[in-house]
């Protein structure tokens, strides 16, 4: 019906029209698909190499292989710092359903600290989801056993073996060797990012930090096939591995041999234990540091392993400042320990001679000034010459000659012994101490009155008080210079560096410094003889320590007044009282004729150099020279 009502259809012309349109459509189709084919030729033939390269770059990830850190030994090859395989607790963010809950439950079983939870949460959010976050660097066996039982409760938490720095002697070597700690963002700015790409820890202080470039070693790298999310594809299932470039293995860091004698170091640590102070022992003929102790100390493993926030705060806030390296950085008034050096200056400058006597009445006054400069002995030493002044540590004698020597000559001679400038020790971070002079005072102060040098300041400088400051290391080095009669060697802690791959050992040669030249050898004999009598003479201040020893020795005690206590310090009264006592110092060397060891130490608030500090110095020398119970 519909067909009859519609206009007549011309079947033939309709077919022709349709055929024409189909042919046109076919041509257009061929053109369109031809465009696609042309595009494919462009991608797959013309630009093939470009895309092949991009595809390779896509799938191959270069992963750094961290080097094994060099070991640290003492002078006899005993381990001071090593790398121990340890199990660390890790969290893999993508495998943990509820990170908050998991961390809270881990803290509940004491594997982590509640305080650290926000930090770990931040870490697990910031990195790639498949990259493990270390929660604890070293698990104890007990913790491993404990966790193993509960493991099913903690999906996504696992322990992994890693190498962790370990210091077997712990606190006893902490200030000498330093420690490594987790790389911080500041470290990464300083270090070569490529070399440290796979490294987790770096030296923070001491030898670990100063010899970082030797200890670290060279990073290697390996090529991994990864998928689009950066996760490694297991190599055994992938045929794509064949075309990978060659890997580069890492080169271990150099091993370092310290000049430290571990036995001596331990002994010194024990002797200083329970006190605040520092001790440095040197070989005077090489400058090798035999022991370097600062107490109280801390366990360097805490930094290598990572500690909780509260542990770190406890170290930081401890009023005894265990993290402070007193041996290198502690600046103390040297007190009477500088008297032998000043005696040499006085003899050289002619300010006095070996026989001139003075009457010590227990105090000294400057002309036209009522102020009394007191001797440590209120009743006075009576008539004393320079020898007696050293042996008995008479202050008045030195007060008297101070004006003739003058502050500038004092500065000159003390500087020749290395005081007032950094010793140049091979460990970073030492303080320079201070030897005042007119010139120094002009520069140090801004107002005219203070820029002037007063005679009274020369007087107190002559007994190592006032502005004068020295570090225990500087005192030890100066003592060594006395022992060698003026030959100076730069103090150093590293004796040899051993290549991690070849085992080739580079011995560090002693570095000679400008001698302290004294015109007449008799002056040396005179001053050193007086130091000998300090310990083994009839009236020596430390004769109680030195008399009866199996060998001859020399020494000088010192006490230094505690200048001030900071107002905001949180000491209670009893403690405050204790902390205002004088510091006790002692310098010594032995054997007297052929010195092999020089020792300088300070005991903060120890009051008596000869009574508290001298016995410690003697025990160190005993041990080193083979006379003590703990002879190495």
């Amino acid at each position: 019906m519909a067909a009859l009502l519609s206009p007549i259809k011309d079947i033939h012309s309709e077919r022709r029209l349709f055929l024409a349109r189909v042919i046109l459509a076919a041509v257009i189709s061929i053109i369109l698909l031809g465009v696609v084919v042309a595009r494919l030729v462009q991608l797959q033939i013309v630009d093939h190499e470009l895309f092949a390269e991009k595809s390779q770059g896509n799938r191959v990830r270069i992963e750094p292989v961290p080097p094994i850190r060099g070991l640290v030994f003492d002078r006899k090859g005993r381990v001071i710092a090593e790398n121990l395989p340890a199990y660390q607790l890790e969290l893999i963010p993508e495998q943990v359903h509820d990170i908050d809950d998991t961390l809270n439950r881990l803290a509940a079983i004491n594997l982590i600290d509640f305080e650290d939870i926000p930090r770990f949460k931040e870490l697990s959010r910031s990195g790639p989801r498949f990259k493990p976050v270390t929660l604890k660097f070293r698990l104890t066996e007990e913790e491993i056993a404990n966790f193993a039982i509960q493991r099913p409760r903690f999906p996504g938490i696992d322990f992994q073996p890693r190498l962790v720095r370990h210091y077997p002697s712990g606190p006893e070597v902490a200030h000498a060797v330093g420690y490594v700690g987790a790389l911080s963002t500041e470290d990464l700015k300083r270090l070569d990012p490529a070399a440290y790409a796979g490294t987790s820890h770096t030296g923070k202080t001491g030898v670990e930090s100063s010899f970082e470039s030797d200890l670290h070693g060279d990073a290697g790298y390996r090529h991994l096939i990864t998928n689009a999310r950066g996760r490694q594809v297991p190599s055994d299932t992938s045929e794509l591995l064949e075309s990978l470039p060659v890997d580069q293995s890492s080169a271990p860091g150099s091993n370092i041999y310290l000049s430290i004698d571990l036995d001596l170091q331990r002994l010194a640590s024990k002797a200083m234990d329970g006190r605040r102070g520092a001790l440095v022992a040197l070989d005077p003929w090489t400058g090798e540091i035999l022991a370097l102790v600062s107490t109280p100390s801390f366990d360097p493993d805490l930094f290598a392993v990572g500690m909780t926030t509260s542990q770190y705060r406890e170290l930081q806030d401890n009023p005894d400042r265990p993290l402070f390296n007193r041996a290198l950085r502690g600046s103390y008034p040297p007190g009477s320990t500088i008297k032998p050096m000043l005696a040499l200056a006085a003899l050289e400058t002619g300010a006095t001679n070996m026989t001139r006597k003075s009457l010590c009445r227990g105090f000294y006054t400057l002309p036209n000034n009522p102020h009394r400069y007191r001797d440590w002995k209120p009743e006075g030493h009576g008539p004393v010459d320079l020898h007696d002044a050293i042996e008995q540590s008479c202050d008045v004698y030195f007060y008297e000659i101070s004006g003739e020597v003058g502050i500038d000559a004092m500065h000159d001679y003390l500087s020749r012994f290395g005081l007032g400038t950094p010793t140049g020790v091979d460990v970073l971070g030492e303080s320079s101490g201070l030897v005042p002079s007119r010139e120094w005072k002009r520069r140090a102060f801004s107002d005219r009155d203070n820029q002037r040098w007063y005679h009274g300041e020369t007087v107190i400088a002559s007994i190592g008080q006032g502005y004068m400051l020295a570090t225990p290391l500087q005192l030890a080095s100066a003592t060594a210079t006395l022992a060698t009669r003026g030959k100076r060697y730069k103090p150093h802690m590293v004796a040899a560096i051993e290549d991690g791959l070849t085992g080739e050992r580079r011995i560090i040669q002693p570095e000679r410094m400008p001698d302290v030249e004294i015109s007449n050898d008799i002056y040396w004999d005179f001053v050193l003889g007086a130091m000998h009598d300090v310990m083994q003479g009839t009236r020596g201040t430390a004769r109680a320590v030195g008399t009866g020893a199996a060998y001859e020795m020399a020494g000088k005690s010192g006490t230094a007044q505690v200048v001030s206590i900071a107002q905001d310090s949180e000491y209670d009264d009893e403690e405050l009282e204790e902390r205002q006592r004088d510091h006790a110092l002692f310098i010594s060397f032995a054997p007297f004729d052929e010195p092999r060891i020089a020792v300088a130490l300070i005991v903060e608030n120890g009051e008596s150099g000869s009574g508290v500090a001298a016995p410690i110095a003697k025990s160190i020398m005993d041990a080193y020279l083979g006379y003590g119970d703990d002879a190495p």
């Binding site: 309709e14 349709f18 465009v35 084919v37 991608l43 093939h48 595809s55 896509n58 998928n227 999310r229």
Partner: protein
């Protein structure tokens, strides 16, 4: 001159009469004809599907489960083709308006009650879950062809306007889901019908120019992600980890395949998951990476053969409805192939069109094969005509 109903002789018999020297038809060919199955088209389709399964096996990470899944879907699709092939064209034509109307109703239902999947409302659950838009892929060209069947060819302007409404209503309904790719394809299948019907070129170009403001209107209609796709096309490197990532990675995959490819299941782009949607819309890139230019050309030749055979069948068709529908089905298939390959190679925006018969997924495959069933029905139901 109305002739329908006057001749009952089947073409296979006619062919014998017209070409007496031709070899007698084998029993196999005879059986195929009785089953309304076109041999060459079937072989072309089977080759494409077989090759596609190889590529898919690699793209789904050599998962037997997913491969079996796809084989089952293909089986269902071929059964659908076979069933549709048994329906005579006259029957199809008679039911076309009803099918079209039902499709519109379902589209409206989808927009109001449909299930949401991947941010779009495309699915309808009436006992079984399906996408009404798939049915419209066939219903729209059928409706356009039905409308023109009894009318003058080339169509008059008034008729063209009616057909434009037939096309635009479902197109907008589907674009609203939103499913831009499908709506554009459906519009294309309808437009193909009127172009094949002889719409004048003046009008075509005129509308083409008029389409520019239309495109601007459409731009405002588009969702943000659709706009992003268009923008990304012009500068994929501007956002390499965002919208441009797909195109960059698929170009790397295809380009790195070179002439011979990296070998089956050895494409690093695909196997290491750099290539997104590698088993669905971007499977062409897997083919390009693992089988190279030669593999890609092989598949394109197979597609050309199927399209060519379809157009031949359209030319051979004997009434307006049949030839317009057959032509539209064949050319829409071509549009599918072009849009997908051009999109994967970065020639046109990413519009979510799967590679026909190869991409993983079932719904569109059934529609496609049903379309080929219609072609076979049209071809095998031809009647002897006096010349």
């Amino acid at each position: 001159m109305p002739i329908s109903g006057t001749v009952t002789m089947r073409l296979n018999d006619t062919q014998r009469l017209l070409t007496p020297k031709a070899a007698p038809l084998s029993d196999f060919t005879l059986i195929m004809r009785r089953l309304h199955v076109d041999g060459p088209l079937l072989i072309g389709l089977l080759l494409i599907c077989g090759f596609g399964l190889f590529v898919l096996y690699s793209a789904v990470g050599e998962s037997n489960r997913l491969l079996t899944n796809q084989v089952i879907r293909l089986g269902v699709a071929f059964v659908a083709m076979f069933i549709v092939a048994q329906l005579p064209p006259d029957f199809l034509r008679r039911w076309t308006p009803w099918g079209y109307l039902a499709g519109l109703v379902l589209l409206v239902l989808v927009l109001t009650k449909g299930d949401v999947g991947q941010g779009a409302r495309r699915w309808l659950d009436i006992g079984i879950r399906f996408q009404p838009s798939e049915a419209m892929k066939l219903a729209v060209p059928m409706m356009a062809a039905w409308y023109l069947h009894d009318r003058q060819i080339p169509p008059k302007l008034g008729h063209l306007i009616t057909i434009a409404v037939i096309i635009i209503v479902p197109t907008l309904l589907i674009a609203k889901q939103p499913d831009l790719g499908t709506s554009l394809l459906i519009a294309a299948s309808g437009v193909i019908v009127i172009v094949l019907a002889g719409m004048s070129f003046k009008l075509i170009f005129g509308l083409g120019i008029a389409a520019i403001p239309g495109a601007l209107v459409l731009w405002n209609f588009m969702q943000d992600y659709q706009k992003q796709r268009v923008l990304t096309l012009f500068n994929p490197d501007s956002d390499p980890l965002g919208a441009g990532y797909n195109i960059i990675q698929s170009k790397i995959a295809i380009g790195s395949g070179g002439l011979f490819g990296k070998g089956w299941t050895n494409g690093s782009q695909a196997q290491l998951e750099f290539l997104p949607e590698r088993d669905t819309d971007f499977i062409f890139a897997v083919l390009g990476e693992e089988f190279g230019l030669l593999g890609v050309l092989t598949l394109l030749v197979l597609y050309m053969f199927v399209i060519g055979r379809g157009l031949y069948m359209a030319v051979q068709a004997q009434d307006t409805f049949s030839r317009l529908l057959a032509g539209s089905i064949s050319l829409t298939f071509m549009v599918y192939v072009f849009v997908n390959t051009a999109m994967v190679t970065g020639l046109i925006p990413v519009v979510g069109v799967p590679l026909p018969l190869v991409s993983f997924g079932g719904t569109s495959m059934v529609t496609l094969m049903a379309g080929f069933g219609i072609l076979m029905s049209i071809h095998s139901n031809r009647k002897l005509l006096p010349h």
